[in-house]
Each structure stands twice: as structure tokens, then as C-alpha cells.
Symmetry: D2
Subunit: 187 residues, 4 copies
């Protein structure tokens, strides 16, 4: 079995919904088991047991949630030092009110997660434009679920955004299965 780990933090349940959809998508791939953990509970062993990792975060002030950052600083730093995740596969997703027509800073938030994957030496799976639902819940870096309306009322992520998350989870899982049997990075 290939394990895919989905890590997230959530304030109002929207990022949790996206995480569950991504896990559902990953788990739908043959020979893949999906494990889902919050940023508070995930540890280094969860990471090293996984061939694929998806990290999701609400967007706060144009970057990621501090609980996700705490996980990165305290768990991922040590894995980086010891070169433990090189050659595995990763993807990211975010949610947010999207205040402002251009997404409310989702892009730097996604790049803050992607820099972690890159530092760890992991292959990065982006979100192809032909993914069904992309116009509603997509950005080139990964799924983005809008959770609030123009008045900043929490209205919840759309079914289309959840579907994008599901497909992204499946994409990462497919790549993780292959990367488990290949050595992309040679000495």
C-alpha cells in the first residue's frame, strides 16, 4: 500500500471539508490508503510513513494559518535536516474568504506551503486547467475554496471546489504510487 497523508488546520470547518474531499480522492486510487490529520496532531512518523503529502490551510492575512506554520517549523524542519522526504510527492490547497476579487492573497499562501514541499525535495503536483470545477475552485498551484461572500459572511465552500479537491487528491495519489517505485533524485 502507498500511504497519502492529508494535513490541515481549520477554523470554521471549510478547510476540514476540503481535506476530507482530498482524502476521499486519494483513497479512491487502487493500492492507496489515505490518512488525515490536523496540523496539531501530525508527527514526523506520519510524514515518513507517507509517499504522498497534501497540506491545506485557511488563508489568513495573505499567508497560511499559524498552526500549519508551527507544524512546518517543528516537524518538517527536522525532516529537512535529515533529508527524509526527498523524492516523495506533494500538493497543496487553501480556503479563504477571498475578500477582493483577486482571491485575497491565496497565491502567497499556496507558495508558503509549496516552499516547504520544495525544501523537503518533494515533487510538486500542480492543478491542471482542465480539471472539472477549476473555474470555480482552482488556481494553478492547487484547489482554492472560497468560504465567504463579498460581505465576509461564511457561506461555506462550494461543491465544485470540493470536487476539485477530490480530483487533486487523486492526482497526488497517482503520482505517489509511481514515485514509490522510481528514483528521481540520484546522488
Amino acid at each position: 500500500m502507498t500511504q497519502v497523508l492529508i494535513i490541515y488546520a481549520s477554523d470554521y470547518g471549510n478547510t476540514e471539508k476540503m481535506a476530507r474531499a482530498a482524502a476521499e480522492g486519494a483513497g479512491s486510487i487502487d493500492t492507496v490508503s489515505a490518512v488525515i490529520k490536523t496540523a496539531d496532531e501530525v508527527d514526523a512518523d506520519d510524514m515518513t510513513a507517507s509517499q504522498g503529502v497534501l497540506i491545506g490551510s485557511p488563508v489568513h492575512m495573505g499567508t497560511i494559518d499559524w498552526r500549519v506554520k508551527k507544524f512546518i517549523d517543528t516537524v518538517c524542519s527536522g525532516l529537512w535536516i535529515r533529508d527524509r522526504m526527498i523524492g516523495r510527492v506533494g500538493g497543496v490547497f487553501t480556503t479563504g474568504g477571498g475578500f477582493g476579487g483577486a482571491g485575497g492573497g491565496a497565491e502567497i499562501a499556496m507558495l508558503s506551503l509549496l516552499t516547504t514541499l520544495a525544501e523537503l525535495g518533494m515533487l510538486i503536483v500542480p492543478l491542471p486547467k482542465n480539471t472539472p470545477g477549476y473555474t470555480d475552485g482552482g488556481l494553478q498551484w492547487g484547489p482554492y475554496g472560497r468560504s465567504a461572500d463579498a460581505d465576509m459572511e461564511n457561506v461555506g465552500v462550494s461543491d465544485a471546489a470540493l470536487d476539485v479537491a477530490r480530483r487533486h487528491g487523486a492526482n497526488v495519489a497517482r503520482a505517489a504510487v509511481v514515485s514509490g517505485n522510481a528514483d528521481f533524485f540520484a546522488p
Copy 2:
């Protein structure tokens, strides 16, 4: 008089409309004259004659138009070498189809313009959240005019986005007037 220069490239006229709105806003401030040029025609003298500069670009593949980049590489690089723009004031704006609910890469495009202003040592004017029209045409880094619908049909930037551009131009002009009489950067 304080001169504010607005530089842009445009494919279908949308960025040009945003540029004209920004110029209108800048020119509405007492003692400010606004000059508008395309990226193809602006030169180093236009830059050094200006206390404030706004640069606008369509978003192409998640970054700025190559004609704007050519202006940056061929005109701005020399000004950077000779420390000619330090202490002046700048702002940015973009337009784009916004394919994907999160803005289609507008943020890296804006940062590609902002890095130019920062390299030149210019004060950066962001877009405050309380700007009228922000929910339609704003991002924290500056105005963003959506020019296409979900099917990528060019529908033109909204009046709200143009109004945001107008107000952003006025904000940059106000800061340029003050920075012309102050020395923020001392040796």
C-alpha cells in the same frame, strides 16, 4: 508641479482603460500632472522626471506581459545601477481573465512589478481594504480588473475596478507630493 507617470501594455484595451483611470485619479490631485505612456514608448527621462510611478500589466501565464518586462530590463535596469529613483513613490495594477476562482495568478504578476519598484528603492503604496470597489477589483497589492468571464470571453473590466484604479492613482499621487518634499532615505 509633481509628475506622476503611468506605464502600461494592453492587448484588448482593458489595461489601457485601467491606466487611463489611474491617470485620471492622479491628475485629480492639486499640483499633480499625470503622464501616460505605453511600455514601448517610455524612456529613462520620463522616469526621472516623475516623483510617482504606476506600472500596469495584463496577467499572462501568471506573470507580467513581456513588453512590460522589456521596459523593466532595458529602461529600469540602468536607473537601478545609477540609484536614480530612490525615495520616489510607486504603485501597481493588473488586469486578466482571472481563469480560476482565485484570480488566475494575479498576485505573482503584481509582485513582479513590485520587485522592480523595491529594487529601485521606491516607497510602495498598497491598496487599503476600505477602498470603495475593493471587493470587485482589489487585491492588497493594487487594483485588479477582471476582463473575462468563466469561459474566457473578454467582457471588459467593470466600472468598480476602474473606480479602484482611479482611487489608487490618487493615493500614489498624494504620497508622491509628500515624498517630493521629504528625504526618507539618508546616507
Copy 3:
């Protein structure tokens, strides 16, 4: 008096040294008082009492320290909602081992701080290339103090980098004095 607030987190004392240098520079400007606080202790009242703000962070995995992010999420978010910091002045700085010849991800870390300033509607002060010490401790977005050598041994930030931080603090303070008497952003 114009108050300039310096906020930081520190692991081994390097970012603290940079913060103290920035505070020294800010406090050297006439009519400016500098206040220095850790990310753990600063509150909303500290922010609203300040016309200028400098935020500094170690670089961890290519972005900012989680304690700085916690401050942003818990203190700055509320100020953003209520439009409390619009028109004030800000700057950023970082420290890091800089593993890898290109700075080890300092740029996304700085942008993670700058997006906070931009969201708050604050004028951004970059670091001019002609700042003495720039070649040792500068990036266009602000001072960057290298704290470790190629073997990741902590060797401490250089005097040149501390000098850059001092001058950056003074630059932000000068701009803060002016912005306290001007209204860049009009309704």
C-alpha cells in the same frame, strides 16, 4: 512624538540583534521613540499607538517563524477587519542560515511579512541598493542577516548586516514622521 514599533521572534539571538539595531536606528531620528517587543508579547494597542512598524523573523523552511505568524493571525487580523492601520508605514527584515547560495528562501519569508503590511494598508519602505552594507546584508525588500555558515553552524549576523538594519529602522522612522502628518489614502 512618533512611535515606531519593532516586532520580532528569535531562536538564537540573531533576529533579536537585528531588531535592536533597527530600534536603535529608528530611535536616532528626531521626535521618534522606538519600542521593541517580541511577537509573543505585542498587542493591538501597541500597534495602534505606532505610526511605523518593523516586523522581523527568522527564515524557517522558506517562510516566517510560526510565532510571528501567530501574532499576525491573532493581532493583525482584527486590526485589518477594522481598518485601523491604514496609511501608516512599515518595513521588514529577516535572518537565516541562508543554506544554499541564493539565500535559503529569504524572499518568500519577506513577502509573507510584506503581505501583512499591504493587507493592513500600510506604506512599504524597501531597502535602497545604495545602503552601506547592502552587498552583505541586503535584499530589495529589507535587511537580511546571514546567521550561519555553509555547514549550518550558527556564526551570528555580521556587523554590516546590523548596520543595514540600523539604517532601515531610520528610513522607516523618517517616513513614519511624515506619514503622521499626511493623508495618503482618501475616501
Copy 4:
């Protein structure tokens, strides 16, 4: 045979050297042929004939060379519209004077190339920290060859940086071989 395409622009020959090293690395992998083209001469057929693509650029004003951007706007945009590159494999590299101890803006330049790969739906190969030469010529996003000293004199990229480029080319080629036989992105 799996084709890996290396695309670059060069001012003083440094990026060309890095491109040739990357091509040498890619071509060293069994069943891979490496093709190298300048940004001016590459066309859509070159792209669609390639399972792996490396794009390299000098850093100018904190982002990529305008000739590389012209290639992206004029060649890649059409491929994006028609979903022609989805599931292939990409990597990036840059060169630059690195004025300022933190790399002179190499990171946004690399992200400007990476956003193109992500928009095209291509798997992204980062640069693992354990790559020999990383401390001299590496960043998490890819190889970075410093071409100038602190006085901005062109001294040429180091052998270590060229070695990093060679290994990065080989890494991308290995991933391209696998991705040619796998379907990561399903409908």
C-alpha cells in the same frame, strides 16, 4: 526515446553555460535525448515533442529576462489554452549577479518560471538539499549560478553551480521518463 528540452536566454554566456550543463545531465540518462534552444528560437512543436522541459533565465530586476517572458507569452499561452503539456515534467534554473547577500531576487524569478510550469499542468521537480554543490549554487526551487562578485563584476558561474545544473537536468530527465509512462492527471 524521451526528449528533454532546455530553453534559455543569456547575456554574457553564464545562463548558456548552465543550460549546457543541464542538457548534459539530462542526456546522460538512458533513453533520454536532450535538445537545447534559446528562448528566441523555440516553438510550440519543440514543446509538444518533449516529455521534460527545463527553463533558465538570468535574473533582471528580481524577475526573469524579457526574452524568456516573450517565449512564455507567445508560445506557452497557446499550449496552455489547448491543455497540451499536462502531466509532463518541468524544472527551472537562474543565474545572476546576486547583488545583496540574499541572492538579488532569484526567488521571484524562479517562481515566475514555475508559475508557467504550473499553469501548463506540469509536475515540478525541485532541488533537494543533499545535491552536491547545493551550498554554492542551489535554492529549493532549482540551481542558481552566481555570475558576479560584490562589485557587480562578471566573474562567471562556478564549477559547483554547473554541477548542480547537471544533476538537476538528470533529475528532471529521470522524472520525465517515468511520467511518459504514467497518467498522473485523470479526467
